[in-house]
Each structure stands twice: as C-alpha cells, then as structure tokens.
C-alpha cells in the first residue's frame, strides 16, 4: 500500500517537472547525495552500507558450502534476499517478504546473474556434490524512495568487499581454511539506474514523494563495459518506445557516475 499523495502535491510536483525543475532543487537527471561504506559488518564475509538521499540499506554477503541445484550441478549457487523492515517506513509490515520485497530481490539478483558478475564455475568444489553458496542479504533500514538503485549499488559493493575461506578438495572431502581468505571470483561490475515518468518527463532517482505520484518507472542494469544486463518496468501506466530508448541513453550515461562510488578493483 502506497500512502496517498494529496492532489495539490501531485499537481505542483508535476508542474515543476514539466518546467524541468524538481521539488528538492535537483536537475531531472541528478542523483541525491550518495554514500557507500564497505566492510561495516565483521561477521559477514562482505558488507556495505549504502545511502541515496535518506534511503538506507545494509547489505551482507555470507557463504556456506552446500549442494548444487540438480539442473546446474557444476556451478556455485547464489541467492539474493531482501527484507523491507518495518522500521524503514510506517507502512511496511513485519512478516514474510511481500511482492515489493520479492521484486527488489529478484531485480537485484537478475542484474548480477545475467550480467555474469560472479564466476559461478569457480565456486564449484566437488562437481555435482558440493559447491559454495553465496547469500546476498539486503536489510532495508530507511525507505525514502528508489530502493532498486541503492540495492544494486550496495550489493555490488558488498560482493567486491567479500572474502571467503579457501576451500580445497582432498580425497572427496572439502577442507575449509578460515585462515586463508580470498576474494570472490568476479568478472565484471554492474549497477542500476531508475527513471520515473512524471508529467511529460523522465526523472532520475525518484524521491519518496516522486514515487508516490509517478505514472511508471523503468530500471536499467548496466555493466561497467556499457552492456545492458537487466531491465524492469514498474508502475501502472505504459511507456512509449522512444521513452525507453531515451531512458537507456540516460542510464548508460548516469551509471558511469555510480561506478565511481565502487571500490577500485
């Protein structure tokens, strides 16, 4: 349930955007202030705390040894999970993940999976029997709009921060050495840009208020080599083809800024 936005706010925010301005003084293609810290949780293999404006997410990466999926016996497993904590907004309820939380997890997962960010083959230990399982858990602490971009940026940073134990196979037995930690095998980096359609314009990084009145939104996952690796359209109204193409151009341009926040590696 989205909170109701007063009609007068809807009108004034839309009118501003039609004039190329925004209520918080940003340009249409400008992010709010972004901050990203890594290595904030010692008990996690990798972690990151990301803030876009007042939206705040804590992300932890954990690893454990487990069984591969039967249809992909020779590659490692990774899972992405998110919790829209009831502390993050007055309308978030405790309980099992609702559809918004599942969408957030799945879209973040898709960017990483389809962008081939993690080299999953290197996470296989005994083919068909034992593999590394990597868990990305996203804890939404404060919701002030645009969770998707914050989640994708934080998840990428936490993966880059992660160090897992060295595992070797001896006589069909896995030996896990916690004294020798090594980084996760990563091929690439990916981040995501979300644009909201309000009035006749596309605005980058919608705030909470803008999300309340947007007609639709489009989120585009881009790799550091410029390839598009995931997309998600949301919202109740349609897009035209030209708008989507324009959004891709904007995303490819703006993700360059986001990559700058990631650790250099």
């Amino acid at each position: 349930m989205q909170p109701i936005v007063p009609e007068i706010t809807r009108e004034s925010v839309t009118n501003l955007i039609n004039e190329g301005k925004r209520a918080d003084g940003r340009k249409l293609d400008q992010y709010r202030e972004i901050s990203l810290e890594t290595g904030v949780i010692k008990k996690a293999e990798g972690s990151a705390r990301v803030k876009i404006g007042n939206t705040q997410i804590m992300i932890g990466v954990k690893s454990q040894i487990g069984d591969p999926f039967p249809d992909t016996p020779n590659v490692g497993v990774f899972m992405t999970n998110s919790e829209l904590l009831p502390m993050a907004a007055p309308n978030f309820e405790p309980g099992p993940p609702d559809e918004r939380s599942v969408e957030l997890s799945r879209v973040t997962d898709r960017g990483i999976r389809e962008g081939k960010i993690i080299d999953l083959k290197k996470l296989a230990l005994i083919p068909g029997k034992k593999v590394w399982m990597i868990f990305i858990d996203m804890h939404i602490l404060d919701y002030d709009g645009n969770l998707l971009d914050a989640a994708a940026l934080g998840a990428m940073a936490a993966l880059m921060d992660a160090k897992i134990p060295t595992a070797t196979v001896k006589d069909d037995e896995v030996v896990v050495d916690h004294e020798n930690m090594q980084p996760l095998p990563l091929n690439e980096k990916t981040v995501m840009c979300t644009l909201a359609k309000i009035g006749n314009n596309l605005v980058l990084d919608p705030s909470l208020e803008e999300e309340g009145i947007m007609r639709a939104r489009i989120s585009i996952g881009v790799r550091s080599d410029g390839a598009i690796c995931s997309m998600q359209k949301g919202g109740e109204r349609p897009f035209e083809k030209e708008e989507i193409l324009k959004a891709i151009d904007m995303a490819q341009e703006k993700t360059k800024e986001l990559f700058e926040y990631l650790p250099k590696a």
Partner: protein, 241 residues
C-alpha cells in the same frame, strides 16, 4: 565430509577475561539518537562488536482490533537478527528465540512508558541486530529506550539493560560472546535507573544465591554506567545539559 579449520579458538587463561577486561568493566559503548529519516524515533548503538539499530513508530492507530486496549496503548516489540549478523547465516524471519526476546523487551520497556496517555493506540518498537557479539537483547533494550525518547514518547524513566554472569569461576559484568557460550551463567537485567526497579531478569546457567546477588549488583552497576551514555546520546541530539 566437511572439515573446518578456524582461527577463533580462544583459550582463556585462569581468572583472566579473554579480551583483557576487568571483572567490572564494560565493552566500549557508543550510542547515537535520531539516525533514521522515516521512523518517529531511532537510535544506533555499538557495544563491543554488537551493532544494533532501534526504531519507534507511534503512538499510532492500532489496526489489529482484538489486541487493542481501550484504556491504554500497547507497546509492541520486534527483535530481529540480520542474516549476516552472526557467524553462520541466520535464516530470515522470526524464530523461537527472537519471539521470546521480543516479548521480554516489550515487558521490559512498558513499565517506563505512560501508556495510559494513549488509549486504543500502539507504540511499535523495532530492533535490528546488524552484528551480534553477545548481549544483543540488552543492547536492543538500551537502544530502544533511546529511540522511544527520540520519538518524544512520555516516559517515567529510560530503561537500561546490562548482563552479568560467571565465566572461569569469576562473577563478571557484561559477558562477551565467548564468555556467554563458554561461561557458567548469564544474567541479563534491565532496570529503571531512577528507582532501581528491575524490568527484565533472566538467568541461565548455575549460580549460588551469593553469586547471583553479586551478578545482579554488577549488572545494575553496568546499567548505571550505560544509562549515562543514553542520556548523553539524547543531549547530543537535542542539546541542553
């Protein structure tokens, strides 16, 4: 078929605490009030390697009718551990342990709050353990009190919690994770510091009556020290002395 080599096999020497603390010494403590935008009140607390976030919403309309009280507010708590807060990933969602802690936290905080001022409403307290290192229920209660104060909810006192217990044959204040697991007993206590009244008391392990009394006194002494930090956090946020 999985062998695990760890570098965490701490061996404590006789009557010395593994982290070198004195028997009545707390771990380093840091509390900050008002850290979240959306919540009505919030607090972030670091206590040793514990990292805990608490948020408060309310008093607000109570939408579960069968639980509402016509003459007072209901203080509801949810204690939750992040999957990445512990060594082996915790499955998300409530388990028996966190449900019990949620109930006790609510009971520990309620006596301090003027619930009778807000009939038919709820005050919701959410505690998130981001990193756990022994004593998270006490850390959660301490943080939640600061968040309640930050939310401007009228209270008789700011409840504060601290554990004491026994490890290596010695009665000690504020058990670490290792002392909690390997030690003989753990006594988490919450008090209202102005009166010293006890609002949370649990014990597991074995103590004589004398040892229990020592532990209780140590826990209360710890509470009084932590209480000063709670007040500082509120003063830092809102000024005044």
């Amino acid at each position: 078929m999985i062998t695990i080599i760890t570098n965490r096999d701490l061996e404590a020497k006789n009557s010395e605490r593994p982290d070198g603390r004195a028997y009545n010494e707390l771990r380093p403590l840091k509390i900050e009030a008002g850290v979240l935008e959306r919540a009505d009140g919030s607090a972030y607390l670091e206590f040793g390697d514990n990292k805990v976030l608490a948020a408060v919403y309310g008093p607000r309309e109570f939408h579960i009718r069968r639980f509402l009280k016509p003459n007072m507010a209901v203080l509801r708590c949810r204690y939750n551990m992040a999957p990445f807060s512990v060594e082996d990933r915790k499955r998300p969602g409530p388990d028996r342990r966190s449900l019990e802690i949620s109930k006790l936290t609510s009971e520990a905080l309620s006596p301090a709050v003027f619930l009778e001022k807000f009939p038919r409403s709820s005050i919701d307290v959410f505690i998130e353990v981001l990193q756990a290192e022994g004593g998270t229920r006490c850390a959660g209660i301490t943080a939640a009190s600061v968040a309640l104060a930050d939310a401007g909810i009228p209270m008789r006192d700011m409840v504060v919690a601290c554990a004491a217990g026994k490890a290596n044959g010695q009665v000690i204040m504020d058990l670490s994770e290792w002392e909690d697991k390997e030690g003989e007993a753990d006594v988490p206590v919450a008090i209202m510091p102005r009166t010293g009244e006890i609002t949370l008391l649990q014990m597991d392990g074995q103590l004589t009556k004398d040892e229990f009394e020592q532990a209780l006194d140590l826990a209360k002494e710890g509470c009084m020290k932590i209480s000063e930090e709670q007040k500082k956090a509120i003063k830092n946020r809102y000024g005044g002395d």
